[in-house]
Amino acid sequence: MIAFVLQRLIQSIAIVIAMSIIVFVGVTVVGNPVDMLISPEVSQADRERIIRSFGLDLPIHQQYFVFALSVLRGEFGQSFVFGESAIKLIVQRMPATLELATTALLISIIIGLPLGVRAGLKPDSIASRLTMSFSILGFSLPTFWIGIMLMMLFAVVLGWLPATGRGPTVLFLGVEVSFLTWDGLRHLILPATTLALLKVSLVIRLARAGTLEVVHQDYIRTARAKGLKNDRIVFVHVLKNIMIPIVTIIGLEFGQLIAFSIVTETIFSWPGMGKLIVDSIRMLDRPIIVAYLMIIVVLITGINFIVDIIYAILDPRIRHEATK
């Protein structure tokens, strides 16, 4: 198991390095920073001074090492717009996004898994058919539309929930969270539900497909032949097998939720990273864009790393494969 963890860790680091090169090439080489940074009216001498001060006169590989070093130190420079450290701005916004994404993920698992497993166990029941129709709906409706509709209904028409913003936050384990106050929780419901809806559909489909397949396996027949109670068969024998693919996909989806919470955050004015990056792209705030991309790379690689570990815990075959 330790060998397995180490192997995955090395892979993850390699991926982060590769991605950092791509990000570097993307922002430094493809879009010429000289044109972006320096106004055409600046004198030639000033121009060269600025180029030198940014290290843009160095050969490209040296520029990358300078970039990599600053990334390692967490220095992405000052935001052009806010005049503050880019990384600090993003880290400030991160808890809001993570809270939103985590809540959405939990909603999709808590609702999707039982519904999906049930639909797989009793595929012909009316409840199962309703579940599947719902999941098709969840798949085919665009997120922004769902968000706007929910906002219209619950915030504008009924007035039950606040339409925008994050509400009051409290410090929890050193992180600003809103789910611990009643008002904060009310602010969280609409954007989290919007973000979760598509994922609920996905979890339902995965759980149903997995269950349908697993219940016909010989080892489930063996479990019945042994006289196990139905609960034990479903919650141990079936669930443990279907969780293997579900954990993988949910992990990937979690990364997506973080990276693409942009739409939801924009609709609900949720003060997370997604909203910040949209604003920054509009303002061509390069340090923030670079910092954001690198943070997302590290986050998603980290999630994948954790997923691999959970996967190995769930599936002894993977665990032993890797230690051999």
Partner: protein, 336 residues
């Protein structure tokens, strides 16, 4: 009738019918099957592939795959009709008083649970008051009995860390762990090496004999039945066509199908003689011929009775029974 007077047979099957009702028609996989299994007795259930042996075994413990369904008959387990039990009562019997060993050891164990977990849960499902500690000891002892080295350590291993033969030993240990009164073994050795096959078969036989466990051994291997069983049931197209004591039936087969199966078995005394296979093959269930289902392949078939009326069961002189219009009255006694 008292339940436990020692005289009531473990299993009395009467007129069992298990049908697969599909859009294409009704497949009569088990059609009017009757036999009796006494305490500690070993019955060999033989027949070609597709003759309905597995479905019979599955019917006995109420685990027929959909769309299969028991549509008629009785399965009296110590006098109680299993086909009429509530699901919870059936669950209590399964894996405790009556258990089954399936054919393919590679797929019958859950890949993500340790062997120990899968053995222990079998005990706890029926004896919840047993401590996990005791259940684990029991599991270890069963593995040891089945000849698995280092049973204590091997409890924590997973199925993929076992060979096919070892997995089947685990499956057998699982079937025997609660000291059942009846075990159904559905070709448990067919998927294994020939040498391991007879070794495991004899171990199971000895274990059952010592514990007084009745055993139904399903196989297409007549030689194995001759070596293991007290009684034999020969099955063709969902029916038992001949049954009786092994030495009676194999010593003097009266049904042409039984005889055909025997002639296809290689034996020392017949070395050099060409083996004769039964011509043709089992027809598909949905296209069974009328009359005696065996008639297209039978050299004794006539043009009338055999094609029109299914033969009823008639007694053999030695206490067995058969279904044939034209039994082989004076067939040559085959040396075994």
């Amino acid at each position: 009738m008292t339940m436990d007077d020692g005289e009531t047979p473990i299993l009395q099957v009467r007129g069992l019918r298990t049908y697969f009702e599909t859009d294409l028609g009704v497949g009569k996989a088990v059609d009017d099957v009757s036999f009796t299994l006494r305490r500690g007795q070993i019955i060999g259930l033989v027949g070609e592939s597709g003759s309905g042996k597995s479905v019979t075994g599955q019917s006995l413990i109420g685990l027929v795959d959909r769309p299969g369904r028991i549509v008629g008959g009785e399965i009296l387990f110590k006098g109680r009709d299993m086909a009429k039990l509530a699901p919870e009562e059936l669950r209590r019997l399964r894996g405790d008083r009556i258990s089954i060993i399936f054919q393919d050891p590679m797929t019958t164990l859950n890949p993500v649970l340790s062997i120990g977990t899968q053995l222990i849960e079998t005990v706890l499902a029926h004896y919840p008051s047993v401590t996990p500690q005791k259940a684990r000891e029991r599991a270890r002892d069963m593995l040891g009995k089945m000849g698995i080295p280092n049973p204590e350590e091997r409890l924590d291993a997973y199925p993929h860390q076992y060979s096919g033969g070892m997995r089947q030993r685990v499956a057998i240990a699982m079937a025997l762990i609660n000291d059942p009164e009846c075990v159904i073994a559905d070709e448990p050795t067919t998927a294994l090496d020939v040498t391991i096959q007879s070794q495991i078969a004899h171990e199971v036989k000895d274990l059952c004999r010592n514990a007084g466990t009745a055993l139904i051994w399903i196989t297409h291997d007549l030689g194995l039945v001759a070596a293991l069983a007290d009684d034999i049931c020969v099955m063709y197209a969902g029916r038992i066509v001949e049954r009786g004591r092994v030495e009676d039936v194999l010593g003097k087969p009266l049904h042409p199908y039984t005889r055909g199966l025997m002639d296809a078995v290689p034996s020392r005394n017949k070395r050099g003689v060409r083996l004769s296979q039964i011509p043709g093959s089992m027809p598909p269930l949905l296209a069974l011929p009328g009359g005696c289902a065996f008639h297209p392949r039978c050299w004794r078939a006539d043009q009338s009775d055999c094609r029109v009326s299914p033969p009823e069961e008639s007694p053999r002189e030695d206490g067995g029974a058969l279904r044939c219009h034209h039994p082989l009255e004076d067939s040559i006694v085959m040396a075994r």
